[in-house]
Symmetry: none
DNA sequence: GATGAATGAGCTTTCATTCAT
DNA sequence: AATGAATGAAAGCTCATTCAT
């Protein structure tokens, strides 16, 4: 019967956190986040309990958004190279067009704030992408390597490529192409 | 400012910083670092001026140590694959046997504490390694990609591989081998 | 304000408060109390208005329970020593078997949360016990001392004795006996 | 060689803490304490580490002052009653003339902030007073009771008596006399 | 140069109470 | 009446840097 929690407020806090962490790093103050989100400081803790939980929520949200983007418009059929190309292009372009989000995800990934639970949830969400990587690498040098390792290699390659795309937008497409060819050869 | 008195103190501070940053992240307090190094708190600032300069010094020291390790015992001659293999193995093994240093380097690399100057100095120190990568990729998919991009791709592949080697030491050699084959194919 | 609906809820809140204050002191959060009582946070204020009123209610409830316990089975007749002994034994044993309640009462008694009104009400409820103490001290060193002072001396002696009984249960009966003899001599 | 810690500052913080805790209870804010002491907030933690350590230091200081007061001018010889009387009078008068300190000591004693270590140190400092109580009770009802229990009974009797002396200063001497007679009878 | 006390802005989190639903 | 989200003023404590000794 009481006032329900506001999805808008929750989203405003998540967005403000992404913004501020991109600008100031993980040390961004919760008070500042609240101000940016237009909510009272206390509300951050009503919605997320601790700063750490807030950061985990941001991590999962960004991962989910990324996964959805990459999955969208995935070509059907069995052309593995085409599909991996789609994954590569959509992934790198998501990062290049969302540099804040990309930066925050990078910071969170190496931080010790993200719990094993969050990492596992993110990993599981990426199931279909991983299955694609497995198909792509089924006959290559990594055919016997753990899928998680293959996924990690592709992910860091995406990250590196995205960085260069952001840094030198005029060559963004070239980097994207170089990266895909390199990764395709590494896997196939 | 006159030349600091004791090289020992300087090194003790650098080592303590590496230790503590590995344990607690970049937020490690300078007072704590001083205590771990067995020097007075004030000396940290006598020797390094600011915490930021201290972190840059750690970054350069670790990069230098890594470069020296990788350069040592490099096979002479013109067998590029053999040389790249040497680079790969010594690099990943350095990380796997120095997890603290590897962890600190990873944290510093993504942080905004490291100045462009430090990054450039590290890049230049890696000249011969980069030359080797250029040779290895001279006829492959990345032949027209900027050398810096090639280097970054190899570096993140090393980092990822090292993480898996540390996490699952029983399979360390397998990961090292998988990684090398993948990178070799990506380049050549 | 209309009469609150549920006596059960009221009692649940009082019991939860006793529990939590025993565990965490007077700083126990009302939200925590509500959770422990299994009622919504708001109900605490519906039933008690403020935290301070809640604490006063707990104080009075415990005092009342204590007085009832001590009065129960009081030997009739005019054997003052026997009656004081009954008071002493039932009082100390109530404390020893209800350490949480005893602890909370002690904390509330020295706090500045309890109003003069509550203290007065408690004092008046203890009328028959005080009358007994007056009889016991009618011919002793405290014959001319204010009854309230005599009561306070006995009360703190009970508290001290109870503490020792709780701390060393194997000697509980011995402490109870020592204390009674000492108090009897002080009064008579 | 660095600046030595200032005994004055330390004492100012202790005194300010006593003042404020007497006024506001143990919840007195460290920032407020610092302001009252005329030192920056941070200095409270330079000198005492945590609020809890500060409170323990206050406890020990007050206990020590009390013990010194009670020991001073203690009549020599073997007149136990005279000596106990001296103890009683100086103890109650210290409390009556230092109501703030007495109040703080009472609050600290029942709080859970005081460590076992502090309690033990205070207990040991009271050795000669306890020896006197043992002598006074050597042939009485408490002859076989643990000395610690006897001491606790006397202490709470002092506290109670002091309270009445403070509340009704015109009768202070009367309360002091009543209390002594009662305690003497309880022990002897 | 060496030392560690001094500093105060800034941090995350808690909380009693109110009030929209 | 019932509910729990909303609120913002504290709270204790940390910290890089300075500077008296």
């Amino acid at each position: 019967m009481a006032r329900p929690r506001s999805e808008d407020k929750r989203n405003a806090i998540l967005a403000a956190t992404t913004d501020l962490v991109a600008e100031q790093g993980l040390g961004a103050a919760t008070a500042e986040i609240a101000k940016r989100a237009g909510v009272p400081h206390g509300s951050v803790f009503t919605y997320f309990g601790t700063k750490s939980e807030l950061l985990n929520a941001v991590y999962l949200e960004l991962k989910t958004e990324l996964i959805n983007t990459v999955s969208a418009a995935m070509p059907a059929g069995d052309d593995t190279r085409l599909q991996l190309h789609h994954l590569w292009v959509s992934w790198t372009h998501w990062g290049a067009s969302n540099p804040s989000k990309r930066r925050v995800l990078a910071q969170l990934s190496v931080s010790d704030q993200i719990t094993e639970l969050s990492r596992k949830a993110a990993y599981e969400g990426a199931g279909s992408s991983l299955a694609l990587m497995r198909r792509a690498s089924a006959n290559g040098a990594l055919r016997d390597a753990p899928l998680q390792y293959v996924g990690a290699l592709v992910e860091t390659s995406v990250a590196t490529t995205t960085d260069f795309m952001i840094r030198d937008p005029a060559q963004a497409d070239a980097f994207c192409k170089f990266g895909f060819e390199a990764v395709w050869r590494a896997l196939s």
